[in-house]
Subunit: 334 residues, 2 copies
């Protein structure tokens, strides 16, 4: 922090880094908190937005009643920028979409499904739509369907993941060169250096999940948070590939998934192995044996569980230090 204090930066009440994403969402920093099942309720989302980023309520693990409750609690505490992440594969996605519209939320991040589904409906109600994709192919499809922002999420990301296994580093410049929309990078980013690197690659902002999952305001269990902080490299595995590729912390059930993959189990058998509610049991209830704890590859690198305010402050500091480093490496005026 010393270097930052010594430089002449005022972090409050001004935009430090100005991009199409900060302008579109009217946020101070190009930092988005990813929607995470059993992790990102109203408390986490509000804390992130209040600290100058964009917080997303993760509807993926919520019934329509629970989502309604979380939105109304958030709105009682905070009247600024706030979004909801809506996984489109949900059978009751239309109900969730209606609740979002009726609540007055103006930013939706859709994922895991066809972006054509509700984009017009959201647009008709003045909602900005960002769509999460793992490849250029799906980004171009989402752009054609009229979404407003692309989130390019690489192989490193926690939870549900693309089949193509494209890592964030090759994905982001590919998207930046081939799509016309504002671009957010996701997967493998945990600090300010990472955010600055994504801006250098052509992104207009960065989405972080696992870093925010390990915050005081995250609704994940203490066992989940402590498992991430204590994780040893390689920390996670992308598994269940024939069913729906999912990145999770290594552990008892992850080992069962790896063995199942190695033995050549098909999708149906994997579905039977998976059963139900494992993410809730792992992430929310802290069941280390039978549960799944979704997390990104950066899990092993996160060493603390601070408040969101501290996290955002450190992210911004890290961005500044990385920008200063780039400047200092350049031995002549550029």
């Amino acid at each position: 922090m010393d270097n930052v204090t010594e430089s002449k930066v005022t972090l409050n009440n001004s935009k430090l880094i100005d991009t199409p994403v900060t302008r579109l969402f009217n946020i101070r920093y190009p930092i988005i908190q990813g929607g995470m099942i059993w992790v990102s309720g109203w408390k986490l989302a509000v804390a992130v937005s209040r600290a100058g980023g964009l917080g997303l309520i993760g509807a993926g693990s919520m019934s329509s009643q629970v989502l309604e409750l979380h939105i109304s609690k958030a709105q009682a505490e905070w009247d600024g920028t706030l979004g909801v992440n809506l996984p489109l594969m949900r059978e009751d996605a239309a109900d969730l979409a209606r609740i979002i519209v009726e609540s007055g939320i103006k930013i939706v991040f859709t994922s895991a499904g066809n972006p054509a589904k509700f984009t017009s409906y959201f647009h008709d109600n003045g909602i900005i739509v960002a769509h999460v994709v793992p490849s250029l192919k799906l980004a171009l499809k989402a752009q054609d369907r009229g979404v407003d922002v692309i989130v390019g999420e690489g192989f490193e990301a926690g939870g549900h993941n693309g089949y193509e296994e494209i890592a964030t580093l090759p994905l982001i410049p590919r998207l930046a060169d081939n799509i016309k929309l504002p671009l957010i990078a996701a997967g493998g980013i945990r600090d300010g250096r990472g955010i600055l690197a994504m801006l250098a690659l052509g992104a207009d902002g960065a989405q972080l999940g696992t870093r925010f999952a390990c915050s005081i305001e995250s609704s994940a269990s203490e066992a989940y948070k402590n498992s991430i902080v204590g994780a040893k490299e390689p920390a996670t595995i992308l598994t269940l590939k024939k069913l729906s590729p999912t990145r999770m912390l290594l552990g008892n059930f992850a080992s069962e998934c790896i063995a199942a993959g190695n033995s050549g189990m098909n999708a149906e058998e994997l579905q039977q192995l998976l059963g139900e509610k494992r993410a809730k049991r792992g992430t929310f209830e802290g069941d280390l044996i039978e549960g799944i704890m979704e997390a990104g590859e950066v899990a092993g690198d996160i060493k603390d569980i601070p408040s969101v305010e501290v996290i955002i402050s450190e992210l911004v500091t890290g961005m500044i230090l990385a920008a200063q480093k780039i400047n200092s490496l350049c031995t002549q005026e550029i």
Copy 2:
């Protein structure tokens, strides 16, 4: 190029970006050309070093006689900085090491094996040793064994790859925070934006493979180069995981490897499927059916086959533009 011409940069005869890696190797740019079997002979290595980077002769596909010939041809053409990449798993690695020492080469990049093997021998002969690792665990081991530089190579990289599947974006900050040696980032980098992003993450330089494989001076077949330029996303697959994880272009033999993996084949069966000389047949002889064409995830993004001089010039331009972009995004003095 316009932006660069307009700024006041002189690219020639000066170090544009000064890092521990440019100083150690006495090179103008923090750009290393990865050693690649059947691709990086003396012509490619000399062209890269002459253009201001560090070129590596890839010994992996060479007999000791052929390596001797390549080094002597290189030295007849060029008396500056030059290195050799030595895969330590080679049965005749000791012969290759002796040839390197006797030739007067002063930089060796070791990979795929125990860095303790020849490091003292190389040091006794005034040779700088860099070692390629896929994880922090192996980086710490290499540091303990006395190597001088760490190359952190992520999941995106072509050819032989780590078992841990750690992508470059999470790997590089992890290494930067935990090792004391100069650090080179590898895997998933194809342009100047990528190099600058790696510097922001804490690396002191970047190693590129597939980009240089698609150059006039590369000794790969035209069929290989054209296959990369024509590759469609996701372009490559990391396969043969139970034998030795290898990233290759999608194609006929890659499909056989995928099917073998899905069916649960063990290492012995995979070795039988692999047989011999597939990399030579694919990369060097251009056999699209029975050959293997090793390549990184960026394969689909490379669109041309220019000279190394043009490639390096574009990489440097890209670095400058990315640094300028970072500066322009910051709305206040940092």
